[in-house]
Point group: C2
Chain length 205, copies 2
Amino acid sequence: MSPPSSDAAAPTGRPRDPALEQAILDATVDLIVRRGMAGTTVAEIARQAGTGKAAVYRRWPTKTALVVAAVRALQAEVTVPDNGSLREDLHDWVRHFTSGDEKAAVLLATLLGEASRDTELREAAAAAIGRPPAAALRAVIGRAVERGEVDPAAPVDVVVEIIPSIAFRRLVTEGRTLDPVTAAALVDQVLLPALRHHPGRPPAR
Amino acid sequence: MSPPSSDAAAPTGRPRDPALEQAILDATVDLIVRRGMAGTTVAEIARQAGTGKAAVYRRWPTKTALVVAAVRALQAEVTVPDNGSLREDLHDWVRHFTSGDEKAAVLLATLLGEASRDTELREAAAAAIGRPPAAALRAVIGRAVERGEVDPAAPVDVVVEIIPSIAFRRLVTEGRTLDPVTAAALVDQVLLPALRHHPGRPPAR
DNA sequence: AACTTACGGTACCACTCGGTACCGTAAGGT
DNA sequence: ACCTTACGGTACCGAGTGGTACCGTAAGTT
């Protein structure tokens, strides 16, 4: 019998090195960020991970599959601040975009170029990088709504997109992260007015 | 003597076909949008333009140079509405992003992927595609300021970026243009409040 | 008519890259 | 001990690509 822990296949022979797995994924992300998808070769990924191409192809059947896996493994986590004040929460949250961590966004931007025609890749990239910050902000605003600080009718869906979009665009078209001054201005002069603004229905039609 | 019109070199022999020049540039843009930079071959560009590779390399020394030229030649023009009302001007202007013409933005997105490491290309793409709409919006807001409709202290620089950034991000990460409903909501519930908002200096420190 | 340059087309070269196959060796299970 | 599979490394293949060279022909100038 010999119950194989919980899986089906009885693992015999030398087991795969989990550390190597991670090293390959790390090298993949690093190289794609620095050289782009087309400019990165599998041989170079293997070399940087301290192994050979065979070890790479033993795990992933194709280069694209490897890249998708690397993106999925990145999965940025975003802390959700809770200071009891919407404005402070927003200023905390915005720091996620002004401080480093541009790697994830650069990766996204790089991939999206060739991902325009690869749905799976685009989906993976967007899910791993684009969604977490928006979800965090949504939580922050949700709490402010509960506190009565924000009109429940506020255009949350659209407000949530503003800063990530600007940060993304700046990074992509200018090659640098969103500066803190601009970010602060966005919070105080755009986000907060929009959230506090009572829609009351603008002069429709 | 034979004064050569106004240039230096006396043009002898068969002149270059200007129509062919444009055909090559058009084919370049079209193919890059559809297949990406790496996925587009010079041979295919030539074939689609109805010519041979030689005619291409007679004009541009390298593939990158050709692409840069194609991007520069795109130069989107943006109409600047003037209805006498800020809100109407904004709603007119925003139509630029909701209606077709995604080609320019897709091109930008595609190129930026591999352009992250090519400054010249990035600069050309950003200048040709990113700047005109922002400039148009700036003009619209400038007129509103003159009319006293907008506080001169409004954060124009940052407001100008909001909609182009969101449109760009949506197009790039989701593959579709900004929908008119969201765009209208942005104008009424984000741009206008931000522009009318009296900064009055937020509770600093 | 003579000359010059562009034209569409093709053949070619040097090179790169994804992917496969195969080494001898290392590291586990039984 | 024996078996199995992963390991790092290398050699190789086939396909594709940017770029060059060279056709015979077309379209201009002098």
